[in-house]
């Protein structure tokens, strides 16, 4: 401002709207900010946030983290077994969705799924015995995210379960997820009756080997182009996976037929995958995980690398604060409910699937999937608005994932906690809703927002980490 004559004033107005009107009344350039006190009015955090805005160390770290996320190349390389392929899975270990949670605290569907997994593993003969085992501390519980894994809904992974293996060919890190069981009465919603266990056994002994053989014959599948194609076919690869599942089976059928798998196993595999429009979810999730893990642990970075719910807590991980979870109580989703159910029946928000939104897909790619917006009573134009609004809270855009309805604009990706707290614009999450009682299954779906408070928590530690570094 030391050389007025070279500057045409262009003003950002924070506060009284009438001041902006005064400026425009004389032809001045002005933009009014729809301002509210950041961080729910917490002044101290607001000051720390202000110091982090455009902070050189954070900007540089975010560039590194985002570039790593963008360069990651997730490739579907095989089907493995949790005990063998996941790190640190010794003994009676069971992984679950979301941030760590103790058995006593867990929600109904998660407890139900754990009981099912204990029976499936042969650690117990019946639910009562399984429950006692869990309550006695004989089972070690941990978060999927601590083992390079993600799981939808309850997200239960036990040692014998088959897992998809996604390898990030660019950085060498791997991510895992169990195979999708379908809809209705399924383990991930807490069902644990004999037929569920039987299906899990079939998945272990028939489906997984057939898929593994098919994939071996077809060769590894690069997933980014497949996800990109699914986006162009109406999926957002979180709540809608119809296109992704179809594209996958197209690739696998040839491989399966070329493999040694029996005709009957191939038939069962194809029938199972073809009958489950969500089959692809359990691949899109570990792909997102592989991309985001590549960005995790960059000192000073304010990029979110995971959003995950365990039915009790909504948790967030931040790249620059790699050893921590930030958590708040998980909200109950006010979505649309299947006939006969209401919000009173709903479990609190559950599952690791918000990893898709964290990676710029799901709710962030809503414009690709207008049908999903109706879950909130919106219109397709709402979907466009939603995808566009998310750009305001991300570090960048992922040019590999484009949205036809927005003139093939790249999806917003790399949530920046500073931008969330500064603008109050919340990351949108598409989600299914589980019944709060184990085993009833999905009772609705909806669009929800990640809670502001969890992002507010990240500001002070991030500020401290940057201050300590500089």
């Amino acid at each position: 401002m030391n050389d007025f004559q070279h500057q045409t004033l262009s003003i950002i107005n924070v506060g009284l709207r009438s001041f902006a009107e005064n400026i425009s009344s004389v032809g001045g350039a002005v933009e009014h900010v729809d301002w509210r006190p950041p961080a729910n009015g917490d002044r101290e955090i607001g000051v720390k946030l202000a110091e982090l805005i455009n902070h050189p160390a954070v900007e540089a770290a975010n560039q590194v983290a985002f570039d790593r996320y963008a360069a990651a190349n997730p490739v579907l390389v095989g089907v493995g077994v949790a005990a063998r392929d996941l790190p640190d899975m010794e003994g009676k270990t069971i992984l679950h969705a979301g941030p760590p949670v103790a058995w006593e605290e867990m929600c109904g569907p998660m407890k139900g799924a754990i009981i099912g997994a204990a029976i499936y593993e042969g650690w117990a003969d019946n639910p009562e015995a399984a429950e006692k085992l869990a309550a006695d501390g004989a089972i070690r519980f941990d978060s999927c995210h601590h083992h390079n894994a993600v799981g939808p809904m309850a997200g239960i992974v036990s040692p014998s379960m088959p897992v998809w293996i996604v390898n990030n060919e660019e950085h060498g890190n791997r991510a895992f997820c169990t195979l999708n069981e379908g809809l209705g009465k399924v383990l991930r919603f807490g069902a644990n009756s004999a037929d569920i266990i039987e299906r899990l056994k079939w998945m272990e002994t028939s489906l997984a080997p057939t898929l593994a053989a098919a994939l071996k014959a077809s060769g590894p599948i690069e997933m980014k182009p497949l996800i990109a194609q699914a986006l162009h076919m109406g999926d957002e690869v979180h709540n809608r996976n119809t296109a992704g599942s179809s594209l996958l089976i197209k690739k696998l059928v040839i491989g399966a037929l070329e493999s040694d798998a029996s005709q009957r196993d191939i038939r069962d595999m194809v029938a199972f995958v073809a009958g489950n429009d969500h089959f692809f979810l359990n691949i899109s999730m570990p792909c997102c995980k592989a991309m985001l893990d590549a960005a995790h642990g960059v000192k000073g970075s304010s990029m979110v690398t995971a959003m995950a719910r365990n039915g009790v807590h909504f948790g967030v991980r931040v790249s620059g604060l790699p050893d921590r979870w930030f958590t708040v109580p998980a909200p109950v989703v006010d979505g649309l409910y299947f006939p006969g159910y209401s919000i009173a029946d709903a479990a609190a928000d559950l599952g690791d699937s918000a990893i898709t939104e964290t990676a710029g897909l799901g709710g962030f790619a809503m414009a690709a999937s207008p049908a999903i917006t109706q879950f909130v009573g919106g219109s397709p134009s709402d979907a466009l608005i939603q995808s566009r609004d998310m750009r305001n809270i991300t570090i960048g855009r992922n040019s590999q994932f484009t949205l036809p309805a927005l003139d093939f604009a790249a999806t917003a990706a790399g949530i920046d906690v500073r931008k969330v707290v500064d603008t109050g614009i919340l990351p949108v999450v598409n989600t299914g809703i589980a019944h709060k009682e184990a085993g009833i299954g999905q009772i609705g779906a909806g669009i929800t927002s990640a809670p502001l408070d969890v992002f507010i928590q990240t500001i002070e530690p991030l500020h401290a980490s940057v201050a300590a570094a500089s």
């Binding site: 950002i12 107005n13 933009e31 006969g340 049908a371």
Partner: protein, 515 residues
């Protein structure tokens, strides 16, 4: 509980669309429960289980079923009518149409991301958050004008140091007005472009000088506000010196005016030293400060009016030698008890300047914001002898709007002074400009009528003296405002200094023994 249902044969609807309809129906008054489904066997079972339909219902999987349970028949029928409408009108014109909505920015960084041309942030949010917003602006390389007050001096010092390091301007906190490149920021007057640049630690001080210059035909290059504490010893005049240096380099600026309430002595010296190095003529008006000797480069003015007059002559203009004063005021007919003047100001700097002028003519006057502490009113709400008060001071604006925006506080005070049998003269300011009240003179005129009635009922008459700070380019229009006051019988002067002198002279005349 009445149940109603409808079936549409071979009518396929997406399940999500149906769930949406069901949710809407359940939100209607009197509706307990609703379902909208394709009538598959499973869905029919659920509807039966929920007591919405009974087993006898005839429907195929390709049929669409909508059923409601309501408190009464009317509600049930109404709900089905809504359902029919939704089925018939699906897909025709959503609420948002196809139009893309542009979101208003939610933060400074978001606004800047949308338009990288932005270069200044005007901050007027509540003071407790203002420093953080200013910090964001500076971090993003943007200049700041901070209108907000109630900001800690430590924050002010910190922000100004950061700004100075980055070569940015940090105007404020508590910076009421500025005009940069012709754009009014905050409460600014309508001013034309011209050769005089101003740096002011007082908003109304700046308005007085620039408005007078404007009325004398001299325009403004830049008017930079610093905030009231800039010349405090702790802040050290950072912004004033920065502004002075910027104006010194600005080819449009031929003369510079510096304005402040009493600065700390060491800062004043520092600023004057910078003024001497400016290579342009500078007028300094530091109210109540000790004057250094004039030289060719720097001249000192005692009042805002005088500062404007000197600046006017520096750029070759002509200030009126003596204001065209109103005709002599008739002081006869005052009651013997009426001896004192009461100043009811909305501008703090005007109140302060008035006290300095009256002190010379009348001796010390009382105030809630006195120039010397011995004359602080014990009760700010009650005047004694000669009193001038600033109704814009924090003490009077707690939980009330500022008197420049809302006249009520001043109205009450004028009536109170009118009821006091010792009041002879009531003195006031009227401040115009963007952001000020739309017709302040009209408001005051109404108060004056009421005040005269109160005094009249007691057999007294009152003398009103005022001035209007503003220009003919202001939305309220100076000439119209002056006319309104004259019609109300007010003695209208051209400046605060002139009005203060006139009011004091009237008190002197009243006190003088009749010839």
């Amino acid at each position: 509980m009445p149940n109603r249902f409808l079936i549409r044969k071979n009518h396929y609807f997406d399940s999500v669309a149906l769930m949406r309809i069901a949710a809407e129906l359940e939100g209607l008054p009197g509706v307990r429960r609703a379902t909208a489904v394709m009538a598959t066997e499973a869905n029919l079972e659920l509807a039966v289980a929920a007591n919405l339909v009974d087993k006898s219902v005839q429907a195929q999987p390709n049929d669409l079923l909508i059923a409601v349970a309501a408190d009464d028949d009317d509600s049930a029928e109404a709900a089905l009518a809504v359902a029919e409408d939704r089925l018939d009108n699906a897909g025709t014109g959503g609420r948002d149409g196809g139009a893309a909505r542009e979101m208003e920015p939610r933060s400074i960084a978001m606004a800047l991301a949308g338009n990288p041309q932005h270069n200044l942030v005007l901050v007027s949010c509540p003071g407790e958050y203002a420093a953080a917003e200013a910090r964001k602006a500076l971090n993003l390389g943007l200049n700041v004008m901070m209108f907000s007050d109630n900001v800690a001096i430590e924050d002010e010092i910190n922000l100004k140091r950061i700004a100075s390091r980055k070569g940015l301007m940090m105007m404020g906190p508590d910076c009421g007005t500025a005009i940069i490149n012709g754009i009014p920021l905050g409460f600014a007057n309508g001013l034309g472009p011209g050769p005089v640049g101003v740096v002011a630690a007082s908003g109304t001080g700046m308005q007085q000088v620039t408005s007078l210059l404007s009325q004398w035909g001299v325009g403004i290059s830049q008017a930079i506000g610093t905030g009231g504490r800039d010349l405090n010893s702790r802040v050290g005049g950072i912004t004033m010196i920065q502004g002075l240096e910027a104006l010194a380099k600005d080819p449009e600026t031929e003369a510079i005016v510096l304005i402040s309430k009493p600065p700390s002595a060491d800062v004043a010296r520092k600023v004057v030293a910078a003024a001497r190095a400016a290579n342009k003529p500078v007028v300094v008006n530091f109210l109540g400060a000790e004057r250094a000797p004039n030289d060719n480069q720097v001249q000192f003015a005692e009042t805002l009016e005088q500062a404007a007059a000197i600046a006017c002559s520096m750029v070759g203009g002509t200030a009126p030698v003596e204001n065209a004063a109103d005709p002599a005021v008739d002081i006869s007919g005052l009651n013997g008890t009426q001896k004192y003047l009461r100043g009811v100001y909305s501008g703090g700097t005007f109140c302060y300047e008035a006290q300095l002028i009256m002190r010379d003519q009348l001796g010390p006057v009382w105030s809630s914001t006195p120039v010397d502490n011995d004359h602080r009113l014990t009760d700010s709400w009650t005047s004694r002898e000669n009193t001038v008060i600033d109704l814009g001071d924090d003490e009077f604006t707690q939980g009330r709007p500022h008197p420049m925006i809302d006249h009520r506080t001043r109205h009450e005070r004028i009536l109170r002074e009118a009821a006091d049998p010792e009041t002879a003269v009531i003195l006031f300011d009227v401040v115009l400009g963007h952001g000020a009240h739309g017709d302040p003179a009209g408001e005051i005129a109404a108060s004056i009528d009421e005040a005269r009635a109160i005094a009249g009922a007691d057999g007294r008459k009152l003398i009103f003296v005022g001035f209007v700070c503003g220009t003919d380019l202001d939305p309220q229009n100076l000439a119209r405002q002056v006319e309104t006051l004259r019609s109300a019988g007010v003695v209208v002067e051209a400046s605060n200094a002139a009005a203060s002198r006139r009011a004091a002279s009237l008190i002197q005349a009243i006190a003088a023994p009749s010839p």
